[in-house]
C-alpha cells in the first residue's frame, strides 16, 4: 500500500512572488519524489484521552465570564480521502482571528481589540464517519504587510492529520460571498480556480440553529491510498 502522488499543480507552488514572504522561503531545487515508505504511511494516533470535552467550542473554551463578540457560527464537515472514504478518529485543529480581525498572539500588533472572552483555537477528533464540528465566531478580515494595502479575507486555519504522516495538511477555510477572496495574494497562490473553490465554505442554512447560530460547511480531502496489487519489492522498503 502507498499514497497517491500529490498533484503539485493543484497546490500552490512554493514560490508565489505576489506573496512576498514565499520568495526567500521557497526551495529552488527540485524535490526528491518517491513512493511513501513506512515513515510516511504510518503516523501519530490520537485518542479521546488527548483532548478534553468542549475544546471544539471556541465560544466557551476561553470565555472569562462572558461571550465573545461576533457572529456566532458552526463550522462542520467531513474528513474524507481521495477515494471518498471517511477518515475517522483523526485530529482536526483550527485557529483564527477574533471578530475584529485580531489574533491572540504576542506578535500580532493590529489595532483591533483583543476579545477577553475569545482565545481563537479549538480541536476535535472526527467521529467514525469522519465528521467534525466546531462552534465559533466568524473571524474578521485583517490587514497584513505585503503590498501596502492587502487584506486577508475572513478565514479559519485548519490542520488535519489523517492516518499517515504523508497525509498531513494545513489549509485555510474561507467564507462564501467574501469579496476579499478575489483580491488575496495568498488565495491566488493557488493556480486553479476550482482548487480555490474547494476552500470556500458555503453557508449551510439547514444546519444553522434558529435564533442562535449560522452554519458553514467545510469538507476536507486528504491523499488517498493506493493498493499495491502486484508488489515486487520486499516489505519494509
Amino acid at each position: 500500500m502507498t499514497l497517491y502522488q500529490r498533484d503539485r499543480t493543484w497546490h500552490p507552488p512554493a514560490l508565489a512572488p505576489d506573496y512576498k514572504t514565499s520568495v526567500a522561503r521557497s526551495p529552488r531545487q527540485a524535490m526528491l519524489s518517491l513512493d511513501a515508505t513506512a515513515s510516511e504511511l504510518s503516523g501519530p494516533r490520537f485518542g479521546h484521552g488527548d483532548i478534553a470535552p468542549g475544546e471544539n467550542d471556541l465560544i466557551t473554551n476561553y470565555a472569562q465570564g462572558g461571550d465573545p463578540v461576533g457572529e456566532r457560527i458552526i463550522v462542520h464537515g467531513r474528513v474524507l480521502d481521495e477515494n471518498r472514504r471517511p477518515v475517522p478518529h483523526t485530529l482536526v485543529e483550527i485557529w483564527q482571528a477574533n471578530a475584529g480581525g485580531r489574533y491572540r498572539h504576542k506578535k500580532d500588533q493590529y489595532l483591533a481589540a483583543i476579545d477577553p472572552n475569545f482565545g481563537g483555537c479549538g480541536r476535535t477528533l472526527t467521529d467514525e464517519n469522519g465528521a467534525y464540528a466546531f462552534r465559533t465566531i466568524k473571524p474578521g478580515a485583517y490587514p497584513w504587510r505585503n503590498w501596502v494595502n492587502n487584506w486577508r479575507p475572513a478565514h479559519i486555519h485548519v490542520s488535519v492529520f489523517g492516518h499517515s504522516f504523508g497525509q498531513r495538511l494545513i489549509t485555510q477555510m474561507y467564507f462564501e460571498g467574501d469579496p476579499l477572496i478575489a483580491h488575496c495574494p495568498i488565495v491566488k497562490s493557488i493556480p486553479d480556480p476550482r482548487a480555490i473553490e474547494a476552500l470556500i465554505a458555503p453557508l449551510d442554512l439547514n444546519e444553522a440553529k434558529p435564533l442562535d447560530c449560522l452554519a458553514y460547511r467545510f469538507d476536507i480531502v486528504l491523499r488517498g491510498r493506493r493498493s499495491t496489487f502486484f508488489e515486487n519489492r520486499p516489505e519494509g522498503n
Binding site: 500529490r6 512554493a14 526551495p27 529552488r28
Partner: protein
C-alpha cells in the same frame, strides 16, 4: 473516475502557534498541549538532543517555523496504539534566535532505512508543508534507499546531522548552496 481532489494547502501563516502551540503564542488554553511531552521515563532507547535552525534564502533564521517530528522507537517500530511511545513531537524555536531543541530517543533502523527522524515544516511563506529527514552522522547510512535516490552525492549531506554521542545539530536550508533535500513523498 470518481476520485476527489486533495484539499489544496495554504500557508500556516505567522500565527500557527495559536492553533498548534498556544503556550508559545503566549496563552494558556488547553489542559494538555499536544506534541510537547518529554519522552516517558520507561521508554527504552538512548536519549538524544537535536538542536538547529531553519535558514531562509537571505541567510536569516526562520523564527516563526513550526516543525513536526515523526520517528520510530529504538527498535525501529512506528507506534500504532496510544500506549506505545508516540514518536511524534512539535518543535518551536526560540522566537528571538530561531534555535530549536528537540529531546527524544534515537530511533532504530526500519528495514533497509537507516535511523532517521521525519520532519515536516510549516511557516509563513511556506505554501505547502515541507517534508524532509534527518539522518545520523554516526550510523551506517550506506544502504539507505532514500539517501541513495539523491543523484548528487554532496546533496545527501544536507540530510545528515552533525555531532556525536547523543548531541546533534541539524540546520535546514530553504535555499542556497546548502539547500536541504525536500521530499515529495
Amino acid at each position: 473516475m470518481d476520485y476527489l481532489k486533495e484539499t489544496p494547502s495554504q500557508t500556516a501563516g505567522p500565527y500557527v502557534h495559536i492553533g498548534l502551540a498556544p503556550a508559545a503564542a503566549g496563552f494558556d488554553i488547553y489542559e494538555h498541549e499536544l506534541g510537547f511531552d518529554p519522552v516517558p521515563e520507561g521508554v527504552p532507547g538512548e536519549r538524544i538532543t537535536v538542536t538547529g535552525r531553519v535558514i531562509d534564502g537571505m541567510g536569516a533564521p526562520v523564527k516563526d517555523v513550526l516543525i513536526e517530528v515523526w520517528q520510530a522507537d529504538a527498535s525501529g517500530r512506528y507506534a500504532d496504539s496510544p500506549e506505545d511511545f508516540r514518536g511524534w513531537f512539535r518543535v518551536v524555536p526560540d522566537f528571538e534566535t530561531g534555535v530549536f531543541t528537540l529531546n527524544t530517543i534515537r530511533p532504530g533502523a526500519h528495514g533497509r532505512h537507516a535511523p532517521h527522524l521525519s520532519l515536516w515544516l510549516v511557516a509563513r511563506g511556506i505554501n505547502v508543508g515541507l517534508q524532509t529527514r534527518m539522518y545520523f552522522p554516526d550510523a551506517d547510512n550506506a544502504a539507505d534507499p532514500v539517501l541513495n535516490l539523491i543523484e548528487q552525492p554532496h546533496r545527501r549531506e544536507s540530510l545528515i546531522a552533525t555531532g556525536e554521542s547523543g548531541a546533534y545539530n541539524f540546520d535546514i536550508h530553504l535555499q542556497g548552496e546548502k539547500e536541504t533535500v525536500f521530499l515529495d513523498v
